[in-house]
Symmetry: C2
């Protein structure tokens, strides 16, 4: 039974793409077979995994419009058990084009129901609560929320939780928050520990004990088209994502 | 003659809101009268200037829908010559609601044409190239692009430039890129200087010589509802924004 996880947060630059790429890679290193869906017109997950946009003939936009899934949409990555359905700039038009289409919130769900060769499907959402992110949440079993340890990021958490609740109430009653992961944590910065304390008080064990530190190797890796686990497996960033993967898999097994 | 500037970049978390708030404040400290338009449903510019969302009766969403401007939409901030038209979560619905409305790209332009008591109007755009950002670009004389010194941020620059060109070609022939400002620059991080070198090579004098350093005081200031220039005027972040304001004003005077 494929478990579908949305990586979502409407606040920009909090580590959604970085978490999708590196958590997926870490789960593959522990034996899972994972498919990433790049649902962001910026296509950062696609280029962060080394797939050049000029090589892409079939992408998630064509699929959302045609709804006819075929394995031609699946692209291999440098990790044997990690595949991706890539995005291109075409996707930018989807927000407007989907508005007047029947079942506009369920297009992605209908597609992902046809794919079952993976342990997990991970959806990298864009920084907005528009129709693309809504499609991602409607198609998912659960949501992992990357939360940057900064004031503006913390502010946006409650409206994200409200959106998740309203999707649960209307289109996807099974949708759960699988967990919140603190990202870009800087030990030298008081703000990081204040945000951590605040979030653990309000959300308790919904917050993963693993924290992703701010680590320059993480931000260098995408320019080499590689996950940080391949670029520098010994760095603190890689170790943190491996720990996070262990926590996520333990959760999934315990369910 | 009010000059309208959009602060735009579809990449998330690159410093759009931080630049809108602090550049505007710095320009006020040099004698300008500035109005900020918060065009992001996250309303970070509104809370970053200390305006609580429960105090807001009239916001930019009501204005985009009704198009009847009145000074009731203008909210004062702690800086005497800096005002704001705030945003609330209502704005999240605008992307979908605007799609089937006449002149959907020009709603904001029609509103801002009715306001002329300011030297500058600065529009804080959301992290997307959807109808809200398009309204911001159509309404503006020029665009300032905050660019985080990271790989993913650099990648997105070309599609932003393409979008600006297509707006210039269809709805707003005067639209110019006023400048690109490098943000969150970290001297210890090789990536920052690589991005700087790359951008200056490609864009030449479109890139401001002032660089905004990564500075923890900048990220602490919004939790106090203040611009960094008020929170800690002597820090490197404040000094950088004052330098940037001088460059921007020199540009405007030279035009
Ligand atoms: N733990 C980390 N340490 C250092 N840099 C990081 C870390 N996590 C992410 N980054 C960098 O921060 C930037 C933002 O991260 P990322 O692009 O993954 O966020 P996002 O939420 O996907 O952004 P968007 O909202 O634009 O989709 C990127 O340049 C990334 O390389
Ligand atoms: N120069 C800087 N030094 C340190 N922190 C910064 C700097 N500029 C911005 N920040 C912090 O980085 C985060 C992202 O900045 P900001 O929210 O302004 O970006 P944005 O582009 O407006 O994001 P969004 O795409 O979500 O609208 C914020 O928490 C902000 O406080
Ligand atoms: Mg992303
Ligand atoms: Mg912002």
């Amino acid at each position: 039974m494929t478990k579908i996880i949305a990586i979502a947060n409407q606040k920009g630059g909090v580590g959604k793409t970085t978490t999708a790429i590196n958590l997926a890679t870490a789960m593959c290193s522990i034996g899972k077979k994972v498919l990433i869906i790049d649902l962001d017109p910026q296509s950062n997950a696609t280029t962060g995994l080394g797939i050049a946009s000029d090589k892409i003939k079939k992408n998630i936009y064509n699929l959302m419009v045609s709804e006819k899934y075929s394995s031609k949409y699946i692209y291999k990555t440098i990790i044997p058990t990690l595949d991706i359905i890539p995005a291109t700039m075409d996707l930018a038009g989807a927000e407007v084009e989907l508005v007047n289409i029947q079942d506009r919130e369920k297009r992605l769900k209908k597609i992902l129901n046809q794919i079952n060769e993976y342990d997990n499907i991970m959806i990298d959402c864009p920084p907005a609560l528009g129709l693309l992110t809504i499609n991602g949440l409607v198609a998912s079993d659960s949501v992992i929320i990357p939360l940057q340890c900064e004031f503006f990021a913390l502010e946006g958490l409650s409206s994200l939780m409200q959106t998740i609740d309203s999707i649960k109430g209307s289109y996807n009653e099974h949708l759960e928050v699988q967990g919140v992961v603190l990202t870009m944590y800087d030990k030298r910065n008081l703000l990081s520990s204040l945000v951590e304390k605040d979030v653990r008080e309000h959300l308790g064990n919904k917050v993963y004990s693993t924290i992703i530190p701010r680590n320059v190797r993480i931000s260098e890796a995408p320019s080499h088209g590689k996950p940080v686990l391949i670029y520098d497996v010994g760095c603190t960033g890689s170790k943190a994502y491996i720990e996070l993967a262990k926590e996520v898999i333990k959760q999934q097994n315990g369910e």
